[in-house]
């Protein structure tokens, strides 16, 4: 039986989510869909001139996966906050594994909440994002 925000206790983990491998096409589509046209993510010539080996994925594409992880589980309307720190670059071709763990129960603005610790890692174990979310525990249903 899978956990829900109602039944979750500290130490429980969310069903993990994987995304990728992230192709160059995915980066081009994300650039178009997000409006983030920074060439460092889509133009290898530009990336090399800027001292990088290659283009690399938008950090926000990875954060979007943490958003999916949390909202698929708790529902967007119950997510009070979502925060991430980008700790390493995500190379082209990477496959992301997104995980979440309940670390705290607390009251926020008068409502019961869970705090989740979130992480995105690459296949080699590199952690690319570390995050945090506050999820409201729905009442009366």
């Amino acid at each position: 039986m899978s956990i829900t925000p109602h039944t979750a206790t500290i130490g429980d983990t969310l069903p993990p989510l994987t995304f990728g491998p992230i192709s160059r096409t995915a980066l081009a589509l994300y650039a178009g869909a997000s409006g983030d046209h920074n060439p460092i993510h889509i133009d290898t010539d530009f990336a090399r001139k800027a001292g990088m080996d290659d283009v690399f994925a938008h950090g926000m594409l990875s954060m979007a996966q943490l958003g999916r992880l949390v909202t698929d589980w708790a529902g967007q309307e119950n997510v009070t906050s979502l925060s991430t720190r980008f700790s390493a670059i995500t190379p082209v071709g990477a496959t992301l594994t997104c995980t979440g763990e309940v670390t705290e129960t607390l009251t926020h603005d008068g409502a019961p909440h869970l705090r989740l610790r979130l992480s995105v890692t690459l296949a080699d174990g590199t952690q690319t994002l570390k995050g945090d979310a506050l999820v409201r525990i729905p009442q009366g249903d």
């Binding site: 995915a26 869909a33 594409l61 980008f86």
Partner: protein, 159 residues
């Protein structure tokens, strides 16, 4: 020496209206692999009691970028121009959202971005700009407050 325009500390971009479009939101949801149909299927969204498809968790950054492009089109600086960002050396350090209300297709919202401040890190190898972006709806008030740190790496041949 840093690259950011540090005199921008405390400044705020002019308020800019953005209308959320269903097609663009659907394209974004598909691109990130979203599977919950309330984010791309109007029938599913309405069946769930929503007026239209709901923005995904990170769509706030897209709304902010759309507002920035609209500012540039009319000759005003967007958040990146305001802080003097150099995309060759720019990294995204942090991104945080405080959600106060959902955004739906068809909403016209107002975006304002405040330059909260600048800092140095890693012995001068990095410099950090902190931005606070507020997305408000004329009737429903503040919907999302986004906070982000943008970073220049200064040790890769930056002038």
């Amino acid at each position: 020496m840093g690259l950011f325009n540090r005199s921008a500390a405390g400044q705020t971009t002019p308020p800019m209206s953005v209308t959320l479009e269903r097609g663009a939101m659907t394209f974004f949801a598909e691109t990130i692999g979203e599977t919950n149909p309330i984010h791309f299927d109007i029938a599913a969204a309405r069946a769930a009691g929503h007026p239209d498809i709901m923005a995904t968790a990170t769509y706030a950054v897209v709304v902010g970028t759309m507002a920035g492009k609209a500012l540039l089109r009319r000759g005003d600086p967007d958040q990146l121009a305001l802080i003097g960002a150099d995309t060759r050396y720019l990294l995204h350090g942090t991104e945080s959202y405080a959600y106060h209300g959902a955004m739906f297709a068809g909403d016209t919202v107002t975006v304002e971005t405040e330059v909260a401040g600048f800092a140095d890190a890693k012995g001068g190898k990095l410099e950090i700009a902190t931005l606070i972006q507020r997305i408000t709806h004329p009737d429903r008030g503040l919907l999302v407050e986004a906070r982000r740190d943008l970073i220049h790496r200064l040790d890769q041949g930056a002038a």
